[in-house]
Symmetry: C2
Subunit: 360 residues, 2 copies
Amino acid sequence: MNKKVSGSKNVTIKDVANKAGVAVSTASMALNNKPTISSDTKNTVLNVARDLGYHPTAAARALVDGKSSNVGLLIPVKVDSLFFSTGFFQKLIAGMNRAANEGGNMISLQIVESREETERVITEAYRTKNVSGSIITHPTQEMPYLDVINEVSYPVVFLGEPPRNFPYVDNDNYGVTKLATEHMIEHGHKRIAFLGGPKNLIASEARERGYRAALEQEGIEVQRRLIWRSRHDEQMAYQEVMNEAGKVEFSAICISVEEQMAGVYRALRDLGKSIPDDVALITIGDCQLAEHINPSMTTLDLHTEDLGYLAAKKLIRLINGEERQDSEIVSADLIRRQSCGCNTINGGDKSKLKVRNSSV
Amino acid sequence: MNKKVSGSKNVTIKDVANKAGVAVSTASMALNNKPTISSDTKNTVLNVARDLGYHPTAAARALVDGKSSNVGLLIPVKVDSLFFSTGFFQKLIAGMNRAANEGGNMISLQIVESREETERVITEAYRTKNVSGSIITHPTQEMPYLDVINEVSYPVVFLGEPPRNFPYVDNDNYGVTKLATEHMIEHGHKRIAFLGGPKNLIASEARERGYRAALEQEGIEVQRRLIWRSRHDEQMAYQEVMNEAGKVEFSAICISVEEQMAGVYRALRDLGKSIPDDVALITIGDCQLAEHINPSMTTLDLHTEDLGYLAAKKLIRLINGEERQDSEIVSADLIRRQSCGCNTINGGDKSKLKVRNSSV
DNA sequence: GTGAAAGCGCTAACAG
DNA sequence: CTGTTAGCGCTTTCAC
């Protein structure tokens, strides 16, 4: 077979039909694997198509069935707290990309800086049909464009729980923090600090509730002084710990997001505290640094790649009308390393670490 | 059965033409600002379109003029050295997005994990015309798919200099390192270490040459022992410095990429060296951490957002046949902070020192 | 100047 | 089962 790529001329379905000696519609149906075509002709057509290097033109197909194969990833950059993430978006996109590939879709970036722009982008996506639906990150309490989405029934899947009844994919923010805090308690700690995120983030609030619940469940009093908050970055986490650590006694910290991890290490080092002997640590969210830092960090792996995968998968099904608008929670795994006191050797306990390829 | 949206039927150009009392072709020409239409009818049409919330369907337009409005960002994830970047992709995408918005384009993600996949993605982009061209990151020496690109004249712009004669946008890797090293020399340092990147990266090699050139220019002997190399991440940079620092004397380090910065700080701290008194530092590439870390880091701002902007702008012009295939170098600015010894107060001196002008 | 009509490549009716 | 045909929404000749 000659896999010669014919330089300039575009191979259309007509060419395939001609070469295969069938009608265009037959070719079309064969290529789309319709049951009404005999497997003989189906094979013939498929072979000819492969030989000719035929690929259906996206525009023509989109024009016919009224929707494109592009799915949007809508990111409000103003919510920069997560955008400086060590690997969140990489993993997320890796997962989305995998789902998109499976469905023959492609991810289009919809980066917006304001509510007006968000509304414009969604409206245009709906009108131009260049993007058939979107995964929207970082839902906040005020999202006036939700009305627009509803009005035109634009398919969306949120990453994180949105204020209204839209489909979303998320971790169990309450549950993961509860589990993390419980793990500290299992290690015998009573005075456990919680380093949370900004108050206006919905996930931050849920994670704090999980922390409280774990303490209350064990009859440990929740102390205001032990609840700290910082922006999701190294520097702010460092400052918060430096500010608060002197005001109260504690033997463990539950760190609410991985971006804060490095700052906590730096602060404890500057304060002359050793990990995990003086202060034990656990962090919500796993990353490369957690594995390589010394001592290695015990984390809850939130399976962010799965999050992206499921979100995209759900969106594509939604677009294809294959699914009703429900939501999904991604599980988390505890990865025991050194910072909590579980292991003394470096590298940690990989027993619960699922093998995951290509974390982008 | 698909559920039909009751109120918001799709607004087509026909609706606009009808409402405006003109023919479809007139409406089309008016909307596309053709000179053959009287400004009176042009205004009428434009107003009606706005009132109706008309947006041209992407697929129909793409079908007619044989290309879509999507531009690809092709990222080979196997080259993960830069993908763990603290902010490179964020800035890059921000710039690309700005350019795309200006041209009415949208960025599509083309994430590939192997050469075969790269070839497949490019071929499909060309065949399906869902993506009209691509910005390709991380060119390496072996890129067999370049043949495919050439064969079908698929428009591409590389980020970084590719092996063959393709258009690209890049920083002056040689120049920036030379400037950085010169700055250390100006501070009186003679024994300057260079922490480079993996040997197989084209940019790494150029940056090392810049370092050598600066030393040679001042008659300072280049010492093998002072040339270090590590992967572009915190951990590997840390280890490399820990391994090499004891074997040789040095009073300054020129750090080749921002991802290595935190590792160098950590290593120097563990080695009991103070910055900048024992060891002065300068880093190629600016980032948030450089500003916030203590002492703050003197850097060369590579204007990564401009890089993305120019790359996308160039690609779009290429797609539209408005530009020949030339390349472009983005200038860099020296940002003087504390780590080099320029400033004692925090915050740094923003006075800018250009390396090289971009030709745009 | 403006309006009718011919496709762009594909899918899905409807005949054969 | 297969072939013919009518559009999807838009741009762009061509006549008027």
